[in-house]
């Protein structure tokens, strides 16, 4: 087992011509952590991973692996393995040759390569397919082959770039669980890029949420869910994500949609009031909202509403357990417990 795998990024800046895609990324990842880089497309998460792998140079900043500065090292000299989104299997080699390739490149004796390939293939349950070529495998099997090629060399760091995005929904859920178990059993630090917040929430020990080339928040999935640092993070995490309502705090009173509540202990000013769809309840003194659509999902339902007394028809989503007793066109009064309210600055989007 590899004892290393600590990652440290210091002030990583990346520019493509005049466009700055990473504005100084700082990140610490501990040994054995399953760490997700989460963000919408174009937020810089894949670029960060590629800089970590050595596939792209950074314009500024340093990459540290186990207290070694590897910024200038070639990808092959970093002792990291990567699974690409497209898997990048070698089509002219058999599955066995694909998995053994990284070992043959360091001139490991044939017998040792063969047994290591069998072990790695068995871990991902494709040891019966070693003679096939990648073109003869299903998508899920190809993904396992790519995974086996990464684990066979026992690197100090796994880099996974959206490894599940090419699988169908059911297989993705199954593979997600297996991936997590595999990582636990191997104990190798793993950096996992995904744009799927649910995937990151369920699989990661900790995660960094990327927004427009910056890290908006780092924390455990529970922390990020419970206390999103910005409105962008709040609107990205959760399914459906957090409702954000324009509101105002004035002399200790919270004014939202024409109704005054006792305000949380924050200073006066324009705010965006965040509340999770699941935290909303029906109460007679709540804000009025008209039901636009009921999305029934069996054990829960999402009720899409529009705030009645709002200038721009602010949408608000309400999650209900079971079958909701409302119909389209109804007006409901919604409220939430004070501890379930999140207050963000209306101008900066930062948590207040």
């Amino acid at each position: 087992m590899n004892a290393g795998g600590r990652v440290r990024l210091e002030g990583i800046v990346k520019r493509h011509g005049a466009l700055t895609v990473l504005h100084g990324i700082d990140l610490d990842i501990a040994h054995g952590e399953f760490f997700a880089l989460l963000g919408p497309s174009g937020s810089g998460k894949t670029t960060t991973l590629r800089i970590l792998a050595g596939l792209e140079p950074a314009n500024a900043g340093k990459v540290w692996l186990d207290d070694e500065d590897v910024t200038a090292r070639e990808p092959g000299e970093r002792d990291v393995a990567m699974v690409f989104q497209s898997y990048a299997l070698y089509p002219h080699m058999t599955v066995g040759e694909n998995i053994g390739f990284p070992l043959r490149m360091v001139n490991m004796p044939h017998a040792e390569v063969a047994s290591a390939v069998r072990d790695a293939a068995a871990k991902v349950r494709i040891d019966h397919l070693l003679e096939r070529r990648p073109g003869q495998l299903s998508g899920g099997q190809q993904q396992r082959c790519a995974l086996a090629r990464a684990i066979v060399r026992k690197p100090r760091l796994f880099l996974l770039d959206e490894p599940l995005s090419n699988l169908d929904a059911k297989l993705r859920l199954e593979t997600r669980v297996e991936l997590r178990k595999l990582q636990r059993s191997l104990g190798v630090t793993t950096v996992y890029v995904t744009h799927d917040q649910e995937e990151a929430m369920t699989i990661a020990d900790r995660m960094a949420v990327f927004m427009e080339g910056r890290i908006a928040q780092v924390g455990t999935p529970a922390e990020v869910f419970a206390r999103p640092a910005t409105t962008a993070v709040a609107a990205f995490i959760g399914s459906p994500p957090m409702n954000l309502l324009p509101a105002r705090i004035d002399q200790g009173q919270l004014h939202v949609a024409g109704i005054a509540f006792a305000a949380p202990a924050v200073s006066d000013g324009d705010i965006l009031l965040g509340v999770r769809p699941g935290a909303l309840k029906i109460a007679p003194h709540g804000i009025a909202a008209r039901v636009e659509l009921v999305e029934n999902m069996g054990d829960t339902a999402i009720v899409d509403c529009t705030v009645v007394n709002s200038v721009e028809n602010t949408p608000i989503k309400w999650r209900v357990d079971g079958v909701p007793a409302v119909r389209e066109g109804d007006v409901v009064h919604l409220t939430a417990a004070p501890e379930a309210l999140h207050v963000f600055d209306a101008a900066t989007g930062l948590r207040r």
Partner: protein, 279 residues
Amino acid sequence: MSSRRWRTTGLTLIAAVLLSIWVVPVLWALLTSFKTERDVLAYPPLVFFEPTLANYREVLFGASSILPNLVSSVIVAGSATVLTMLFAVPAAYALARLALPAKRAGGFYVLATQMLPPVGLIIPYYLILQKVGALDTYGGMTAIYLTFSLPFAMWLMVSYFEDVPPEMEEAALLDRAGRLRALWHVILPQVRGGIAVTTIFVFLNAWNEFLFAVVLAGNRVRPVTVAMFNFISVEQTQWARLAAGAMLAMAPVIVLGLLAQRHIVKGLTVGAVKGGGRR
């Protein structure tokens, strides 16, 4: 007959007419190569005649044997091909992959060299080869063929390299292969088809070349295309021998063409459909 069958019949007819434009001269030459000189000149042309192998005996083993010329052709075309591929493959890979500053301009220049009419270059080439003492030498001819085949081969190979997904190479780099071994173990096997097609095109271009060979060489180095020209003289044209020689010179072309048929069709359509050229 349904309209669909009419269409198929029509297309077959058109194809047959077009094909005959290429095939009839070859068949004519094939027939001629088995005729005696007297039968060749018979009018109306004889379709049925007593075939003879005399022409082949003459052009292979007779006084005007073209065997040494075939050897010359193999040497010139072979060395031009080997050198071309040796330079074109790495160059095309670099052009396809690396972010070189003048890539676009360079690519256009490479293509532009193909647009020059070769005849306009003969005199400068003659003078250059004369200056360096390379007229009528294997080295000189190979160098001249390189100037044409290298840009062509690079241009053709670039599209094959561009078809290989970059991640495949990045995976090899992370798998500790390094650039050279990544090229050798991972990239080159993906472009095997392209290398085969390019090699054959380059070889055939050099093999069939006549203009440069007749002006810049022709005595010590006399490829088969030039040698056949000697069957045509002011006093008489030895049509039957010319035809027999042509059939012999054509043989490698046809054999190579058949061998690479599958690859060539793929090669000509590469890039037409994304990823269609591979696998």
